[in-house]
């Protein structure tokens, strides 16, 4: 285990540097080809050159290599890495630092991600096991059809429809009615309510997790079906173990390995999806910060937030990988 962890940690360094460099080189080349975002901000009524110059200095866009098309700007990359190490991810167009904005809002986004993850893991595995144990029966077909449809619904469509059908048609009458308890109405809230920091994130969390719920259910189903046919399951049955023990202890543990891998990938999907759900449900988290930055063309914020989120994503997939090795001995001794 120790050797595996060490090797995985050493591999992590080039990947994180490489990904940050990829982000750097693609933005640099784009700026070199299409021109500077500060100029694009003003359009035709450009202010005097000194003001543009000053803004460029402020956002770190004054480096001369940004004018030389094809120059990879290694110097700028090293400078930026140094800034990232000190927690400096740039400032927005109003002069507030991105890391400050980020820390203010990260709690809400983390809560929503937690709800989404818990929902998709618990419900997804449950549905997958149900379908896998009754292959080709009614429940299995039902699960297969609903998961296909769920996978085909992009998060922004799911969110918009949930606001309309659940938030307005179910939640609003509940909140206005006399009989329903307050918490029930808050669970189907169309926006964030700071008085109910968990309950009012319930609906956006579920919308965010719906796509991955379908993926997890399908993965669990296929790998359970495959494992139920294997020799060790037959041996366990021949020994006279109960079905419950064979499924829950012997088969399920092995079937969940692909699910754990998927959750590692899924963290990236959830980060992207939280941008959409927070925009739709007006949840004042990191997603909404990015959403508003896109609307107001605030490029430094977008770049800063995406950089932080990429680092968060890489670290959490590293953790998932380590967990994965604890679950599956075959990976440790590879």
């Amino acid at each position: 285990m120790g050797r595996y962890v060490a090797r995985r940690l050493i591999q992590f360094i080039p990947v994180i540097l490489g990904t940050l460099f990829l982000l750097h080189i693609l933005t640099t080349v784009t700026i070199q080809v299409v021109g500077d975002p500060v100029r694009a901000l003003f359009g035709e009524n450009a202010p005097p050159a000194e003001i543009i110059q000053q803004l460029q200095v402020q956002y770190g866009l004054d480096d001369p290599c940004l004018q030389q098309t094809g120059n990879p700007c290694f110097g700028l990359f090293v400078d930026r890495l140094g800034q990232y190490m000190q927690g400096d991810f740039g400032t927005n167009y109003r002069g507030r630092s991105v890391s400050e904005l980020f820390l203010e809002r990260v709690g809400i986004t983390l809560r929503m991600q937690f709800i989404a993850l818990a929902f998709e893991i618990v419900v997804g595995i449950f549905i997958g096991v149900l379908a896998g144990l009754r292959k080709d029966k009614f429940i299995d077909n039902l699960v297969r059809i609903t998961t296909s449809v769920l996978i085909a619904v992009p998060v922004f469509v799911a969110g918009s429809l949930a606001v309309l059908f659940i938030g307005l048609k179910i939640g609003l009458p509940l909140r206005e009615s006399e009989w329903a308890p307050e918490w029930l109405g808050q669970m189907f809230q169309v926006g964030y309510n700071p008085e109910y920091p968990w309950l009012s994130l319930f609906l956006p969390g579920i919308v965010l997790g719906s796509f991955s719920l379908a993926a997890i259910a399908r993965l669990t189903r296929t790998s359970l079906i495959e494992n139920l046919r294997s020799d060790y399951v037959r041996t366990a049955r021949a020994k006279g173990l109960t079905t419950r023990r064979v499924v829950a202890i012997h088969t399920l543990r092995n079937s969940l390995i692909p699910v754990v891998t998927y959750i590692g990938i899924d963290l990236g999907l959830l980060l992207g999806g939280s941008l959409v759900t927070e925009g739709i449900f007006n949840v004042p988290g990191i997603g909404l910060l990015t959403f508003q930055a896109i609307q107001s063309n605030d490029t430094p914020v977008i770049l800063g937030v995406v950089t932080v989120l990429t680092i968060v994503f890489l670290i959490s997939s590293l953790l998932v990988d380590l967990l994965y090795a604890a679950l599956d001995p075959r990976i440790r001794y590879e």
Binding site: L22, A152, V157, Q295, N297, V306
Partner: protein
Amino acid sequence: MSDISAASAASTNVDSSGPEGSGSNRTLWGDVRYELFRSPVFWISSVLVFVILLMSFFPWIFASTSPNEAGACELINARVKPTWDKPFGYTAAGCDMWSSLVWGTGKSVNVAILTTIGTVILGVVSGTAAGWFGGLTDTIISRVTDIFFGLPFLLGAIVFLAIFPTRNIWTISLVLILLGWTSLTRVMRGSVLATKQKDFVDAARALGASDLFIIRKHVLSNSIAPVIVLATIGLGSYIGAEATLTFLGVGYQRPTVSWGLLVNEGQNLVFAGFSHLLIYPCAFIVVTVLAFILLGDVLRDALDPRSR
């Protein structure tokens, strides 16, 4: 004598048309065709895909006037709700909803087709190179794919598209290709690694065939199947991705007619009671994505003998 040869000729004919029957000497692709033709999901999804492609390339068959033509939209009609004459109603700008949806199909589908072509070319070339040549080539390509995987898809796309001052079909497809090719590379690499160990590859090499000849004649055709499945599903998910980016404001921009923009408008007006503005574009997106994903699923079932 002639009778016998005719009979044997006839019998070989029967054999070669084997895929339609239930003979045991079908080829792989004959088997796949047999599996597909039996499946109702295959027929439903391919008819849907056919209609969607027809809509995107020949929209005038379904709706005669483009909503971008002069005089096609009247502000007086803005947000008019569906009636019996016009079951789809009008958009927020007063255009006919049905023709906006039909003319918007091509915008999403073209991006998805371009992206799929680009990712398949990049993925197949790099995946084959990594799987076939191994060693240093493999290490470099695999590490590069690792790096691209480190960037969450939607977040990466937003950063690059936000810097572009103009976004059109080419820039959107370019960004999607850049971020999407790596999954195909991984699948192709694994598939080539499996094919490489087959006896017919050794046989071809023993006969003196060159690397390129073996790749072209034997390896590609025997390892392309998972790529076809993934590319079909990819077509659907890129349609969804384009609509998401447009919805967020980094995809197509007005006055282009596109589904993402229609959902965006509908989302703002749904609280005012104009639910048709939201429901129709959402239905079009979901049905289109679903059609491609179902087609990919059926193909996967037919191509993967383990699932039978």
